[in-house]
């Protein structure tokens, strides 16, 4: 009984913590994106609601909650309703293993990194479900593009991850972090970091890789037919995915929670948000790629480079050890 109470409390607290983090993070990131884009384009951005528009996304969220949930005719109803849930599920699971500090983590699994990668593949399935079930040509085109893109970019992503895992000799996030106490991996594996950030940006469908929802061609891509909170869940999942990709990059390359003076959690969050800022910077700097350029870039440049990186890593490790 005692065991169940303790585990139940742990799980409950973890879930509440994760859901609050997801919500607050998304609210903050959407405000941050609007501010960053505004300042890059020399305009002030939202200014009216709250201090420098800080409460703007809360107002937007309230508006979305109040909106009618429209289910178009001729959609594949069950799949149409399931898609946002399938989109959100892997996002929640990934937080299970992210080590915010040596003590602040829900489960320290020895397959932690694999868990994140495995569940993040569900996102593609969710996008495909949403696009296909919507019974709309723009949605379907967005979904098809998304699948082709995610399949192409997942290969170099996993290959670069493998070179880090080879170095650490473990899939456990806390082990990978604690091995970077002296030297961060970004100084040992700069090419891998570059590849990882490019592929991470592509995996989260962010510009310049946002062709699945390219608004100038496809209305809103795979979530064209979704309204109200269903649309908001896709949005929430996208911004949380940005957080997760940045968190994994922090674990792999930026030494996780390591850093002087400040507490570990603060260092971790600082690094994560710095990477997210970098991704926003990409979005407002680079134009969107054409579809065939995007796929060619993945197959002809990224994958050979990632393979080369992996082979060189393996050779050097064999020589050193």
């Amino acid at each position: 009984m005692q065991f169940f109470l303790a585990e139940g409390a742990r799980l409950g607290l973890g879930l509440i913590g994760v859901i609050s983090l997801v919500a607050v993070n998304a609210l903050f990131l959407i405000w941050m994106e609007r501010k960053v884009s505004a300042h890059i384009q020399l305009r002030p951005g939202p200014m009216e609601v709250g201090f420098h528009g800080a409460l703007q996304t809360i107002a937007d969220a309230l508006k979305l909650i109040g909106k009618e949930l429209i289910t178009p005719e001729d959609v594949d109803k069950l799949i149409y309703l399931l898609a946002p849930i399938v989109m959100f599920l892997p996002v929640l699971v990934s937080f299970l293993v992210i080590p915010f500090s040596p003590t602040l983590l829900i489960r320290d699994l020895n397959v932690g990194v694999l868990l994140i990668f495995a569940f993040s593949t569900l996102t593609v399935l969710a996008i495909l479900m949403a696009g296909w079930a919507s019974n709309n040509k723009y949605s379907l085109l967005g979904a098809i593009r998304s699948v082709a893109q995610n399949v192409a970019y997942e290969i170099p992503l996993l290959l670069t991850a493998m070179s880090i895992i080879l170095m650490a000799g473990s899939f456990q996030p806390s082990v990978i972090v604690s091995q970077q106490a002296k030297v961060w991996n970004i100084f040992v594996q700069p090419l891998a970091f570059l590849l990882f950030i490019i592929c991470g940006t592509a995996e989260t469908n962010r510009a310049p890789f946002d062709i699945p929802e390219a608004e100038s061609e496809l209305v809103a891509g795979f979530h064209t037919e979704y309204s109200g909170m269903r649309f908001a869940i896709f949005f929430l999942a996208e911004y949380t995915n940005m957080f997760i990709v940045s968190a994994v990059a922090t674990i792999f390359f930026l030494g996780g929670w390591h850093g002087p003076f400040l507490p570990p959690v603060v260092w971790f969050l600082l690094k994560v948000y710095a990477l997210i800022f970098l991704m926003m910077w990409f979005r407002w700097t680079f134009p969107r790629l054409r579809f065939d350029q995007l796929i060619t870039f993945a197959w002809k440049i990224l994958i050979p480079l990632a393979l080369l990186n992996l082979i060189v890593t393996a050779f050097v490790l064999k020589l050193v050890r």
């Binding site: 495995a118 593949t121 593609v124 399935l125 699948v147 082709a148």
Partner: protein, 173 residues
């Protein structure tokens, strides 16, 4: 029987239900996209069974490769096949019977094999089941199987290249 009503037992039943239910959708549904989703659900259940066998690495690999890659690859195949809105011809009883017999035969053989084999619990055979050990075995004791699998992949790749050799749109000329 009481074991089935514990927390572990209930989740085991759920996982088995997921596997079988997904399998039925994968075989029975008339919409090919539903088939793929059913297959994904079923494979997710299989990953759960691996978790129950205390093999989280294989469970994660199951999700990563089968749900994440194979199902998506099947979706690619669907996109290349004929349009979904066309009415599908009714199933032929002969085909159903053949498929049922084939699958039933495989099931009977596998069940007989399972029944005949004297299973030794993994803990009794060895206490080292780390990924390193699995990798070592794959490259020494089970090298032949490993190579056979890579041969299949090579054939698949050659087939893909042969299919793609002519490129898109050049067929008319």
């Amino acid at each position: 029987m009481s074991e089935l009503f514990s927390l572990a037992g209930l989740s085991f039943l759920m996982i088995v239900g997921m596997t079988l239910g997904g399998a039925f959708i994968a075989v029975g549904a008339r919409n090919i996209f539903h088939n793929v989703l059913g297959l994904a659900l079923s494979l997710f259940g299989v990953a759960g069974i691996f978790l129950f066998l205390n093999s989280p690495f294989l469970a994660m690999m199951e999700i990563l490769i089968y749900v994440g890659a194979i199902c998506i690859a099947i979706c690619f195949a669907i996109m290349l096949s004929e349009p979904l809105y066309r009415p599908r011809p009714p199933r032929k009883p002969i085909k159903l019977l053949g498929a049922g017999l084939g699958a039933g035969l495989v099931f009977v053989v596998l069940a007989a094999l399972v029944k005949k084999t004297a299973w030794v619990p993994a803990a009794a055979r060895s206490d080292d089941w780390s990924v390193a050990t699995i990798g070592h075995y794959l490259l020494t004791k089970y090298a032949l199987i490993f190579e056979a699998i890579s041969l299949i992949l090579l054939v698949a790749m050659l087939g893909a290249i042969v299919n793609a050799k002519n490129g898109r749109g050049r067929e008319e000329s």
